[in-house]
Amino acid sequence: MSVIYVLLAISIVVAVIFFIAFIISVKNGQYDDSYTPSVRMLFEDELVVEKPSEEIEIEKNPTK
């Protein structure tokens, strides 16, 4: 068996993985709002860290 089969198989598998990643990201709604994340990443987040930990623990969001 020629090495070309292996190479082709690898290249297609890699391409398909990226393709599936793309589909999943679209499905999760990452392309719905392309503006807000660009602003959000610029916020300073140190303020969140300094919060005392005696917060009432809230149940984790099950839909996420």
């Binding site: 793309f22 499905k27 709002d33 503006y35 807000t36």
Partner: protein, 798 residues
């Protein structure tokens, strides 16, 4: 006196500056929000963007309906009794500060577990622990910090809107396949004419079949999934006897696929899989580009977006209860508070009604109603609470009945033939005849080549570039218009706008500004003391006319009145020292009005002698006369107003001679008027603003809503024009016409490429590589041409 601006909302503080924490605030509301933020470690809000806030409004009792479990159930996205997720529309979201503070809501209330802003849509999605924090408390919290959500009947009715992402998927599939097929075609590109028999490169010949079948595999999802829309569209077109542009495209795709499959099966050649996938990828790219949406605007609104979800019903025992609007039955008694909308037709039972019908009729002035009078749905109560007894249910009310008109069921786009589709017919016929003639010739001359030529013609003539011309030209125009604050629903609207030959304007709110801020004084001049007294008297009054008159009068020193009294629905009186002043209606000040005056007036008497009156006029937008003068050269104009004739003489002076003016037009009259014009084969542009124009906007070929603030609601329409750009309207129409010329020029350009391709096809020498070069080349040059031309056109629009 130097003016300072509010630290929170940026408004002018006026004379009453509230100092707190060494900062200036315009009102207690803004100060309170600042206090909330600063005590909760949220003052970063002010660092991100200065003066980003809004003044919180009084909302007492407004959200009581959120106590009703059934309504909460309908509004929330997810609800398991403990955790609720709600998506709220907040019109005030406008800057990064807004995003930050709304996403840090958990600092204000620990029961908010997560909040996420969608900035383009101006919505925030909040998850919270509902056993500790009710939806009502959450909404009140938002309102308290100046981010009052807008909840309307619309939210109640259609809850789940699934997002259509199929185009992105299709584009992804086509792009993925196109890229891979291109790579797999490379061996063929570099080794064009060799084959195993003629002793070509061994390595390529050995694996040729593998490469080709791989390409075939990649093209399958492209043809059967990504390209599916073209087949359905072509099929629909043929069934209704229209040869639209998708017919030759679908034909091209089918032929490309079949010919390529046959070629590789019988080892006749490498097939055209690269052209096939490229074609569909480019076509979808055009579609994607055309699809520019302004997600914060909605072009589909009906009365439901204006109506409240619930109102207060008074039960037979005299108790107040919240009831859902759809549950209102005939004979119910409703309590309508100040600033609330009347949801159904009814009879006024109790209270002082001053109802603003500007939504319904376009009549700008509030109407006074007495007990026993009929009140209509859509009116907004402006004074204290009233009680009404309903006569009809919501859907049968006067205003809402307008929406049962069939116009609202129709989709304008289905009846409109685009420029591209209109040449589709001629194109298809031409291509088919060329193919037939060429095939006939080759059948006679060299039958072995006949089939080859036939398919080659259909492949090369596939109108890829032609069908890209319109999406890219119009898609780009749509963006240019959007930057100039003219927001259109879709690209087709530009095509329709280019054909307009009649333009109908609404008056109130469209060619006039929404504030009645111009008043002229008629009568005896007022002395200095009288003016001072007048200003100080109306200072305390909350009546809208008092407010606008107050703003217009020159600055006076604030004096404390000895006596002040407001007579609801009549006027105000005040006295200082020995002077006494009365401001209000003619009866109130003791003037018997002789002439019928249709304009709004405020009469003034001082020390029991009649002085004169302020006459309020509609203020026309800047550049109205100029716009109408320009437009009247090519377009027929008319004014269709729901208002009375009070402004007729002023309008006649302002507008070009013989412009038809129609007054007292009811919403359905406007609709009928447009319909009758269309029956005379006119292409009508309707420019309006309120719900009363909704029917006319839907009926017209292009309905444009004028909006002072594009974030607040405008009725269903094809386009929303920012009021500040009103005088540019004609330029936009001209630009649309020019855009159509650009499309026609690109048609010529792409036809030239087609001619070159046809030469190869007809003579039987079309190699896959020629198709693979020609098709992208023609598409790219058309896209480049349209982009350059439209940007050039956009620069010329001011």
């Amino acid at each position: 006196m130097d003016t300072s601006n509010c630290y929170h909302c940026g408004d002018d503080c006026g004379k009453k500056v509230i100092q707190f924490d060494e900062k200036d605030f315009c009102c207690n509301g803004c100060k309170t929000v600042y206090e909330i933020f600063s005590t909760n470690d949220l003052s970063y809000y002010y660092d991100l963007q200065s003066a980003a806030g809004a003044t919180p409004k009084a909302i007492e009792g407004k959200y009581d309906f959120l106590d009703t479990a059934a309504i909460v159930e309908k509004l929330t996205e997810f609800n398991d009794g403990n955790l609720q997720i709600v998506n709220l529309y907040i019109p005030h979201i406008h800057c990064s500060s807004c995003i930050w503070v709304l996403e840090n809501l958990n600092k204000l209330n620990p029961f908010v577990s997560n909040s996420q802003v969608d900035f383009p849509k101006k919505t925030v999605r909040i998850s919270y622990n509902s056993s500790s924090l009710s939806l009502k408390e959450l909404v009140l919290l938002l309102a308290r910090i100046g981010y009052e959500p807008y909840i309307s009947l619309d939210d109640y009715d259609n809850k789940k809107k699934s997002v259509d992402r199929s185009l992105i998927y299709k584009l992804g599939v086509a792009g993925f396949a196109f890229g891979n097929v291109m790579f797999l075609s490379f061996p063929d590109y570099f080794d064009l004419s060799t084959s195993a028999s003629s002793g070509g490169e061994f390595w390529l010949n050995e694996y040729q079949r593998l490469f080709r079948w791989l390409m075939f595999g990649f093209s399958l999802p492209v043809v059967f999934y990504a390209g599916r829309d073209y087949f359905t569209s072509a099929y629909k077109g043929i069934r209704s006897n229209i040869l639209n542009i998708d017919v030759p495209i679908a034909l091209g795709i089918v032929v490309l696929f079949l010919r390529s499959t046959i070629d590789i099966t019988f080892d006749l050649g490498p097939g055209f899989f690269d052209s096939l996938t490229g074609l569909i990828f480019f076509l979808l790219l055009g579609k994607f580009f055309q699809q520019k949406t302004y997600s914060f605007l909605s072009f589909e609104r009906d009365y439901k977006s204006y109506f409240p979800i619930a109102v207060t019903r008074i039960t037979s025992e005299g108790k107040e209860e919240t009831t859902q609007v759809h549950d209102i039955k005939r004979g119910d008694r409703l309590l309508i508070r100040n600033e609330e909308l009347i949801p159904v037709d009814g009879i006024l039972i109790n209270g002082n009604a001053r109802i603003d019908y500007s939504f319904v009729t376009g009549e700008s002035e509030a109407v006074r109603k007495e007990s026993g009078d009929k009140v209509f749905a859509g009116g907004k109560q402006l004074q204290s609470a009233i009680e009404i007894e309903t006569l009809k249910s919501v859907s049968q009310s006067y205003l809402t009945q307008l929406w049962s008109n069939s116009v609202f069921q129709q989709d304008k786009s289905t009846h409109f033939q685009t420029l591209t589709d209109s040449i589709g017919k001629r194109f298809t016929i031409t291509v088919l005849s060329i193919a037939t003639i060429a095939t006939a010739f080759w059948l006679y001359y060299d039958p072995s080549k006949a089939m080859n030529v036939f398919t080659a013609v259909l492949i090369i003539a596939c109108p890829c570039a032609i069908s890209l011309a319109a999406p890219f030209t119009l898609g780009n125009m749509l963006r240019i218009f959007g930057r100039k604050k003219f927001y259109l629903k879709d690209t087709q609207t530009i095509e329709r706008l280019a054909q307009i030959d009649t333009a109908i304007f609404d008056k109130t709110g469209t060619i006039t500004t929404s504030q009645k801020s111009v008043a002229t004084y008629e009568g005896m001049p007022l002395s200095q003391e009288e003016e001072s007294l007048l200003k100080n008297t109306i200072r305390a009054s909350n009546h809208p006319l008092s407010r606008s008159l107050y703003d217009m009068l020159s600055e006076q020193n604030i004096v404390t009145l000895d006596d002040y009294e407001e007579h609801l629905g009549k006027g105000v009186e005040g006295s200082k020292d020995n002077n006494h002043i009365k401001v209000g209606s003619a009866d109130f000040v003791g003037e018997q009005q002789s002439e019928e005056n249709l304009n709004t007036t405020v009469h003034i008497s001082s020390n029991a002698t009649y002085k004169g009156k302020y006459v309020f006029h509609n203020e026309y937008r800047k550049g109205v006369s100029k716009l109408f003068d320009e437009m009247s050269e090519t377009i027929k104009l008319a004014i269709l107003s729901g208002d009375n004739e009070g402004e007729k003489s002023r309008l006649e002076k302002l507008l070009p001679k013989l412009t038809p003016l129609y007054f007292n037009q009811k919403p359905e009259h406007k609709l009928e008027f447009i319909k009758s014009l269309q029956e005379q084969d006119k292409k009508v542009l309707m420019v309006g603003d309120g719900l009363n124009d909704a029917g006319a906007l839907a009926q017209s070929n292009v309905g444009v809503a004028i909006s002072e603030n594009v974030n607040v609601f405008s009725p269903a329409c094809d386009g929303i024009l920012d009021a500040s750009k009103f005088q540019q309207l004609y330029q936009y129409i001209i630009a649309s016409k020019k855009a159509m010329i650009i499309i026609k020029l690109s048609f010529v350009l792409s036809l030239l490429y087609n001619l070159v391709g046809l030469y190869f096809a007809v003579t039987g020498q079309l190699q896959p590589v020629i198709a693979a070069i020609l098709m992208p080349l023609s598409s790219i040059s058309v896209v480049a041409f349209t982009t350059v031309m439209t940007n050039f056109l956009g620069k010329k629009i001011k």
